[in-house]
């Protein structure tokens, strides 16, 4: 029995390893080819690079305006996630603690709206915000993310806040805290687990989002990382080397963040999926 189990464990380990190699293989291919010249890539795209030539990276880095795109992505993601978590938690709090008819209606309205797909909104969105001159700005984009992200965040905070006992808040009120003070000093710190979950889900979404920035941001200096890779790739399709380097440059920061926060990310996705 014991021996059988170990054999079975070995087989499983082996099967999973093969599967994982298949999963990681595409990244590996991009990595090795990002160091090669076009000729070397065409001769044998599977061969390891003969020299570690960084010229593709330098090329991609400058032509993609990498630093700028990276900063744009960072600003957009950071501000959007900060605003979504802050504003949605306040909203959910008032929805749970004040059982006014209007609050219940708004909560239902927000939850119901979650079935509207982005494609159903994008055309009028472009028309409306284009006509009032709000396109082509990071801040307009951040504002839109707050609108798009609010429903799910309010829904998740709502579920969590319901389980927090009222006594703590009552004590704070007796001690003279205003409603806002009670929220920021007592409630918001208690929401940390769900805030982490929402932040992780929203970071993954906003950092990697393509279609909305593609519609909103026109000027090259406004581009996010996925957008700059898209335009760069479109212009340099034949230049495989720099194109591979561009893909790596966009992937590396994410992988580094993942290595540092792997546990929180997987846990965040796990908790976020149980609605």
């Amino acid at each position: 029995m014991e021996k059988n189990n170990r054999l079975l464990g070995g087989i499983k380990f082996f099967a999973l390893s093969i599967f994982l190699v298949l999963y990681i293989f595409p990244f590996f291919i991009v990595l090795i080819n990002s160091f090669k010249e076009r000729k070397e890539i065409l001769e044998n795209p599977l061969k390891l690079p003969s020299v570690l030539n960084l010229s593709n990276y330098i090329d991609a880095f400058t032509k993609m305006n990498y630093l700028h795109a990276f900063l744009n992505s960072l600003i957009i993601t950071a501000f959007s996630v900060f605003l979504i978590t802050l504003l949605s938690s306040m909203t959910a709090y008032i929805f749970v603690r004040k059982k006014w008819k209007f609050n219940q209606f708004m909560f239902f309205f927000m939850v119901a709206s979650m079935i509207i797909p982005f494609q159903g909104i994008m055309i009028p969105l472009v028309k409306i915000y284009g006509s009032i001159g709000m396109m082509n700005s990071k801040w307009a984009l951040i504002y839109m993310y707050v609108g798009f992200g609010a429903s799910l965040a309010v829904f998740m905070y709502h579920g969590f806040i319901k389980s927090i006992p009222l006594e703590l808040e009552e004590a704070a009120t007796i001690d003279g805290c205003s409603q806002l003070q009670t929220f920021f000093k007592i409630v918001f710190p208690l929401l940390k687990p769900v805030t982490t979950t929402i932040a992780i889900l929203d970071i993954l979404w906003i950092w990697n989002d393509f279609l909305l920035p593609y519609l909103v941001l026109m000027a090259p200096e406004q581009r996010t990382l996925p957008l700059s890779v898209f335009y760069f790739y479109g212009t340099y399709t034949i230049e495989y080397g720099p194109a591979m380097a561009a893909l790596m440059l966009a992937t590396i920061p994410v992988i580094i963040a993942y290595l540092l926060m792997q546990k929180q990310i997987i846990e965040g996705v796990l908790k976020g999926s149980i609605k």
């Binding site: 494609q119 159903g120 028309k127 009552e170």
Partner: protein, 294 residues
């Protein structure tokens, strides 16, 4: 907590706490949605300042448009295969990775990796694989099925799209199934073993019924994402060759923003909205019926 007595006090509290969210929600989602309904009845071309009211003609045109139906049916086919493949593989991986195999955290993290990276990048990565790596392998080792690029063959390009989607999402759904497996009470499994149930019987009679909630969520998410897919489609095939892989989302974008038929594009978008809403609501309804009391 303080109790607001007057309507004005209530309004003040509401605006302080929920004002910004409400405003953003209404202006970013509800207003465009309502305006979208209006747009479907007009012939706006995106440029001219005026547009005429055309009644239901956009909807009629959508229903008569063969290209639209081709794209829609292709999307259905795509959703069908990706939903099944993703969920079967993800379930299988989660099963293996909760059975105490060595290095399971490492494996979990590895399979999840593609979900960290946006569809545009993944599409470009696989474009290189399909048009260079696989062709190279096919030519070097004389494998006929690989010697031409899959992306330039209408049938194979569809399967390339399916493969990339499955590769991207299995890790995510695996995480959901893992949480389902971890929520199955150990003593229930032990009791089944003591009663003499073998592995297959335990899977069929204990594990699967208790995993229905995970299936509900996971199938819901894969259905929804399947209907909405855009960036992988754009980066991998851009709908080609000859529009043979133009899924519905890409088709809507092209109709509206490239052909500048905003009214028609919006009518197509609403059609998609109704289909997705109907399919996902029905799926969740029937899955909920299957769930057992835990």
């Amino acid at each position: 907590m303080e109790q607001e007595k007057t309507l004005l006090a209530k309004l003040k509290t509401y605006l302080i706490f929920a004002g910004p969210t409400t405003f953003a929600f209404l202006t970013v989602i509800i207003l465009p949605f309502l305006y979208g309904i209006y747009l479907t009845f007009t012939d706006w071309n995106g440029i001219s300042a005026t547009h005429a009211f055309v009644g239901f003609s956009n909807y009629l045109q959508v229903f008569k448009d063969k290209v639209f139906w081709t794209s829609f049916l292709l999307t259905l086919k795509y959703v069908f295969f990706t939903v099944i493949l993703i969920n079967v593989i993800a379930f299988f991986l989660a099963y293996m990775l909760t059975s105490g195999v060595k290095g399971q955290n490492f494996f979990r993290a590895g399979f999840f990796t593609p979900n960290l990276i946006g569809g545009i990048l993944l599409g470009f990565i696989w474009q290189f694989i399909f048009s260079n790596i696989l062709v190279y392998l096919g030519k070097s080792y004389n494998i006929p099925i690989l010697s031409g690029s899959w992306l330039s063959d209408p049938d194979k390009a569809f399967w390339a799209l399916v493969i990339v989607t499955v590769w991207q999402y299995t890790g995510y759904m695996m995480v959901i199934y893992i949480s389902g497996f971890m929520n199955i009470p150990r003593d229930l499994l032990e009791a089944a073993s003591i009663d003499g149930a073998n592995t297959y019987q335990r899977l069929k009679n204990v594990i699967l019924p208790l995993m229905v909630p995970s299936f509900t969520i996971s199938v819901f998410l894969t259905l929804q994402r399947g209907f909405m897919v855009y960036d992988i489609n754009l980066a991998l095939t851009n709908g080609g060759p000859y529009k043979s892989t133009e899924l519905i989302s890409l088709h809507i974008y092209n109709t509206a923003f490239l052909s500048q038929q905003y009214g028609i594009g919006q009518a197509e978008a609403f059609f998609l909205f109704f289909v997705v809403a109907a399919v996902t609501l029905l799926q969740v309804y029937f899955s909920k019926k299957l769930e057992v009391e835990n």
